[in-house]
Assembly symmetry: C2
């Protein structure tokens, strides 16, 4: 990167033109401070891939410059890549108490907690890293203890919002955005704002969490039998609302699902969640209790097939049954792409006779987004009144709409940068320009290991998944160059009917190819393999319209 003194640069290794794996960088003089290090879940096209994390090759090359990782909040798309990052770059990690609690769980799992340097900060902390003075401001989101960040540099001030919405009546007043501090920051002058764009397409203000609390309570009141509520474990405000509703209706509460148990544990331990003594019960106690006296809080609101709710919906959660008259509440909207998995579970729950409360977005009243809608975003832009603007955390259309919002509240046309991961915005003499880029990409995690899978392997998996594979084993005499016996054909994942005729023809074609090549004295293995593949591929496609992978295996004796 630039080695100029006082040069200020901003770029992202993830989070632009995508939802997930957020990772942003502020570089001043020769110091790089990273913001967040998230993961992202693969779509169906990435066969077999477990997780995607940012490609940090650039940071590893410039490891002497990387000073710190600051984490805005504890969602997976902001912390999920941290263990992999720290294994390569062991820099101090700055985060608030709750966020650190979640990071610690992760580092423990990866067995690197002891060697990691974790530094607790809060919204009034001040850090000095290289030539940057770094301070923070509280923002409201759907997880406790969230921060926005201010980087004060001699070249100007940069603000990163973190994920946020404005909620004037949050479940927990401690979580209210510090609008006064934001106003001060704006007054002092913001050269560049990075603000999240998730809901830039949605008009209006985000509804308040209060609305959800009221609906949850009403549903608990109305329910005559068990209430089962599913939400994101990290949404501690929502969990608190459930605890409150359980208390008001005199119900005991059981937690189902590993992440629910873990995250609620952290939240209680750190004082972010208040649960009355004796309210929590073990899952195995549920069946012994009167159905009207018990509630269940569980994972699986996104339809994850192995999570608690999916197992409950098919009667596969040992010791806990959903029975006719039970109430099941989805207190989280489906993330795009998860709709079908969710509705499958809703169907199964109705089959069991449950009363199911569900619906897209906030239509059921049981969920509000943690991300600000258009008016929230405009309020942030208005408070900060930045000269330059980079919309972050979103797919292109969200970034695009966020730019329009910025221009509507006074950011000058041409001063918004819609950039890609890797594009660098350089600021010199308070003029911002985007002219250069660093190389970035995706790092795939497959089977617990990093970077074992490239495009090549994924292409093979795709072919195998659609059309399967045909192996042809040939035993060839070294001396005479001819087949010692009939070729042997094995298929996996191909078609099952009428394969015997295909097999005969495949064997005939193979034998023919071997003999032809022998006659032409071209019986090198590679030529032979290539010819066999070609003739079989053609034959199979003509007769089945399928393109299985063809693997000839030649054995020379």
């Amino acid at each position: 990167m630039s080695t100029k003194e006082n040069a200020l640069s901003i770029f992202a290794l993830g989070g632009l033109n995508e939802i997930g794996k957020n990772m942003y960088a502020i570089e001043y003089s020769n110091d790089i401070v990273m913001i967040d290090c998230g993961n992202k879940f693969p779509d169906e096209s990435l066969l077999g891939i477990d997780l995607i994390i940012p490609d940090i090759a650039y940071l590893v090359e410039n490891k002497d410059k990387v000073r710190a990782l600051i984490v805005t909040h504890g969602h997976e798309d902001h912390i999920g890549g941290i263990p992999f990052f720290l294994k390569k770059l062991n820099v101090p990690v700055y985060a608030t108490r709750f966020t650190l609690g979640l990071i610690e769980m992760k580092l423990k799992e990866h067995k690197i907690l002891r060697e990691s340097e974790l530094v607790e900060i809060h919204s009034n902390s001040n850090l000095k890293i290289g030539g940057m003075d770094i301070s923070f401001f509280k923002v409201t989101h759907s997880i406790p203890d969230c921060l926005g960040i201010v980087f004060q540099t001699p070249a100007g001030n940069i603000v990163h919002t973190g994920d946020f919405k404005f909620d004037l009546t949050p479940e927990n007043n401690e979580e209210r955005s510090d609008i006064h501090k934001m106003a001060e920051i704006g007054k002092e002058g913001v050269l560049l704002l990075l603000s999240e764009s998730t809901n830039a397409e949605r008009p209006g203000f985000t509804p308040s969490e209060q609305m959800v609390g009221e609906h949850v309570e009403a549903a608990f009141m109305k329910a005559k039998r068990k209430v089962i509520l599913s939400t994101f474990a990290s949404n501690i405000s929502r969990v608190q609302q459930v605890v409150n509703a359980a208390q008001k209706t005199n119900r005991k509460l059981a937690l189902l699902g590993r992440s629910m148990v873990n995250v609620v544990g952290v939240a209680m331990e750190l004082g972010f969640l208040t649960v009355p003594d004796g309210m929590l019960i073990d899952p195995h106690e549920i069946n012994e209790m009167e159905p009207g006296k018990v509630a269940i809080l569980c994972t699986g609101s996104q339809g994850e097939p192995m999570a608690a709710l999916a197992r409950l919906s098919t009667g596969n959660f040992r010791g806990v049954d959903i029975l006719p008259g039970d109430t099941v509440i989805f207190a989280a909207g489906p993330i795009p792409g998860n709709e079908r998995n969710v509705t499958k579970i809703v169907d199964n729950l109705f089959v069991l006779g449950a009363n199911v409360i569900y619906g897209p977005g906030s239509t059921s009243g049981m969920h509000v987004s943690g991300h600000g809608y258009q008016e929230d975003l405009k309020l942030m832009l208005t408070l900060m009144k930045p000269k330059y603007f980079i919309p972050i955390h979103g797919e292109f259309r969200m970034l695009h709409h966020h730019r329009l919002l910025a221009e509507s509240v006074g950011v000058e046309q041409g001063n918004t940068f819609i950039i890609n991961n890797g594009d660098v915005v350089d600021i010199e003499h308070t003029i911002a320009r985007q002219t250069r880029k660093i190389s970035v990409g995706n790092t795939y995690i497959d089977g617990g290991d990093v970077g074992n899978v490239g495009e090549f392997i994924l292409r093979d998996r795709k072919q195998l998944s659609e059309d399967g594979m045909i192996m042809i084993v040939l035993t060839i005499s070294k001396a005479e160059g001819k087949l010692i016996s009939e070729p042997d054909t094995i298929s996996r994942g191909f078609l099952d009917k009428d394969f015997s005729e295909l097999r005969r023809e495949v064997n005939r074609l193979t034998t023919e190819t071997v003999n032809e090549l022998r006659d032409e004295n071209r019986n090198q293995w590679n030529v032979m393999k290539k010819q066999i593949k070609k003739s079989i591929r053609q034959y199979i496609y003509t007769h089945t319209k399928k393109k299985p992978m063809i693997v000839p295996i030649l054995i020379e004796i």
Copy 2:
């Protein structure tokens, strides 16, 4: 099935607890009349499958009873299985003019048009098939020429609604539901109603097509450059609205995408669509024209990766470019499951600088559903006032909500049957009961051929898609039962890094297993393969957390 005289039975081979492959049956005495024969598109779990159609084994077994196929309308989920059905059961097909036009295209493609018996009907036709008098009534939907069906039998009258909504101001008045006729049918008495349930979860009435027409026109008026509108080719009302808007704004119109060209062709030929002379132009003429004087109507509103709109959005449609300032309209909501593909295209279009009008459901004003909402469904139930009710055409939660709607307008509790494909409702002495079922399932089309793929193959494909495959080739001496050379290990779709060490260990384990078994005199091939698989699977899983398919190939010399 029952052989009793005057016995009346109803069942489905598809369409219940699913969206797609609709196929219903009415059996009276010894005559079976089928209603619709649709297809369904596979979800991601059905790797490599092209299409799903109803399993008609039961009909083939009872082919002497099957008298006719009546088709309510021309959507794929009602006609897509017809060619496969007719190849096994060549019965007459009854449908309206437009529906027959679409069926004919299909039969031509499958080269069975000539031997098929197609009978044109209209809403005033009367058929007598076996002991059933069959008449029809006009319904509004999102394709022209749709019917509901009345089966008059001595045992009572059965009504099948087809797909419908009520629209008092449709684009084409010919398509208005015949409410008067419905009222008469209801007055005469309906023993059992089968009514579609797609939108049973949505409150209110479906908005009118008129609303869309107004929005389309306004967008055409406002657009300064090219307008590109994508919708379902079969939605001829929508196409007519686009033609009208193009005429009003003095634009020529180009059609992109095979199904758009074909279906619009059929609609014009049969008089369902009126296009002014000289309005249609060839795609290659687009670039020669002033951008403000041209509009494009194309396929791909569901984000289909190979359709016209997807190709336009990535600059891969030869001869046609989307340029900054062009307007792109999605005049169809994304079907659940297609959201991500659609938003990917929206993103790409914004990148090209287009003004994109999109949004879920009817929020953009450019789309209304063809399926009645709750109030439409209640109106149908009220008009027909059936004694018994079977909600059809929907997933379980839709059927469930439709039952609640039926009960809210007077269908007695216990008189609604929520059944599965294959469940038979028998009516004797005007009493309906569901006690028996016939065997049904899915038939998969893979590579143009029917039924070549079973669960077994799909399981293999799944494993291959996630973890790939490892083949170990062993050459064993027949005489001594020992390995002649080092085992040879080949992998596909597995991991790419550090495979050499794994390979060494796999070879070592294999050799060890072969030698052990030889010492124990248990060197039968099956035992050997099983042992090799087991030891390698364990080793690979421990070291990579992956479970590739292990295929040992033994060659005895």
